[in-house]
């Protein structure tokens, strides 16, 4: 992503094209946030659109006199959020870009999920916050699987369903769990691009992580069920459980609920779904990696 700082024309408030070149989003007045945006999202094409724009922006950034920021997005699911500083506002801008991008495409929904490419398909891990999605997805990356997304993944409601990488940078809560393993600690230390007191943001190399817009077929949806202790266990989930979980986590303000439900029902019929009970994200990732890599190998025989 080009660094806007240092180019004189970029210092003036103006407009930016962000995202797919054939249908970019227009963002107004984001100059103060641009230096921080790469900490949160990567691979989104970015292009200066000039001091004036021919159409209304999709997202506006407002810098208030008290140095706080507002990120205002339009369209289905549009929102108006306030932030105390440019770091957090850049994170808010990343979220707004993803929301507006997904809401433009009638075939896409955004799932609150993490994902890694295991073999030739995506393993998507779903659950509410604090369930360990990020840890499991990153532990899959530590095991050599291609990291595909953390926190939000776009999926198509078609058969076969594809996941689309949204370019969100992976992050992990600090301190790391004691049982995360040396490999995970080294991974986090080696790839941290920014660390706060309770969060580390990682920047993976292109070969190790999916980039914005990359797609892969969804092989399995896995619901995480974190426990205090015990070995990792994977068991099949029923289609109603799958639909119920996806309804809870799907962001799709642009799709009528009846169509969304029909699409999620099709998706539930098309992919394998599992419950993963685990206490250690390292063991959980090893179980997933072993199962789905083996499945790929079996399929190739």
């Amino acid at each position: 992503m080009p660094d806007p700082v240092g180019e004189e024309k970029d210092m003036a408030p103006g407009f930016w094209w962000v995202g797919r070149e054939d249908d970019p989003l227009l963002v107004e007045n984001a100059e103060a946030l641009m230096p921080y945006l790469p900490y949160y999202i990567a691979g989104w094409p970015l292009k200066w659109a000039g001091a004036e724009a021919a159409r209304a922006p999709d997202i506006r950034v407002v810098e208030n006199p008290d140095s706080t920021f507002q990120v205002i997005s339009k369209g289905p699911g549009g929102a108006d959020f306030s932030f105390d500083n440019p770091y957090d506002a850049a994170n808010g801008l990343a979220g707004a870009l993803i929301s507006v991008f997904v809401a433009r495409d009638p075939t896409l929904v955004c799932m609150h999920a993490g994902a890694a490419r295991v073999g030739d398909g995506l393993v998507v891990v779903i659950r509410d916050s604090l369930a360990g999605k990020s840890s499991v997805a990153l532990q899959l990356a530590v095991l050599g699987n291609r990291f595909f997304g953390d926190d939000q993944i776009a999926v198509t409601l078609e058969n076969p369903s594809c996941g689309m990488c949204l370019g969100l940078m992976p992050k992990v809560r600090l301190p790391l769990p004691e049982d995360c393993g040396d490999g995970f600690r080294e991974f986090v230390d080696g790839y941290s691009s920014m660390q706060g007191e309770d969060m580390a943001y990682l920047k993976l190399w292109e070969g190790e992580a999916g980039t914005f817009g990359e797609t892969a077929e969804v092989r399995a949806l896995v619901f995480l069920d974190r426990t205090e202790s015990g070995a990792s266990e994977l068991r099949p989930a029923s289609p109603p459980e799958l639909v119920k979980a996806m309804v809870r986590t799907a962001f799709a303000p642009h799709i009528p609920s009846t169509d969304l439900l029909a699409g999620l029902t099709r998706l539930a019929a098309a992919v394998d779904a599992y419950h993963l009970r685990f206490s250690s994200s390292r063991d959980a990732a090893a179980l997933l990696s072993g199962k789905f890599r083996n499945n790929n190998a079996d399929a190739e025989k």
């Binding site: 029923s238 289609p239 109603p240 639909v243 119920k244 309804v247 009528p256 609920s257 009846t258 969304l260 439900l261 029909a262 029902t265 539930a268």
Partner: protein, 96 residues
């Protein structure tokens, strides 16, 4: 609630059944509701207008190990909840 009332599905509600469990979409808000197997059975039963007493009787026959008082309370709670959420509508009974 009186037994003069008839309960029936709100015809504007869209329903999707998956493996005997049901998802409903409330048309005004677009909110999606999930019904477990038992509540799904209630939803199927009120495809035609039904009195509360009829529903309780049918469920008491279907679940003989559960006390009628418990079934009655559960049905009352479910009907109240679904009526408040506009998933079910109430009609006055024309007669016995």
């Amino acid at each position: 609630m009186t037994d003069e009332q008839l309960y029936i599905r709100n015809p504007a509600v869209a329903a999707t059944e998956i493996d005997a469990e049901t998802f409903l979409v409330e048309p005004e808000t677009g909110e999606v509701f999930y019904l477990d197997e038992v509540t799904s059975a209630l939803w199927r039963f009120i495809e035609e207008p039904r009195r509360e007493s009829e529903i309780v009787q049918a469920f008491a026959e279907a679940f003989p190990d559960t006390g009628t008082a418990q079934i009655s309370a559960d049905i009352r709670a479910a009907l109240t909840d679904m009526t408040e959420r506009d998933l079910v509508v109430v009609r006055a009974s024309d007669g016995p």
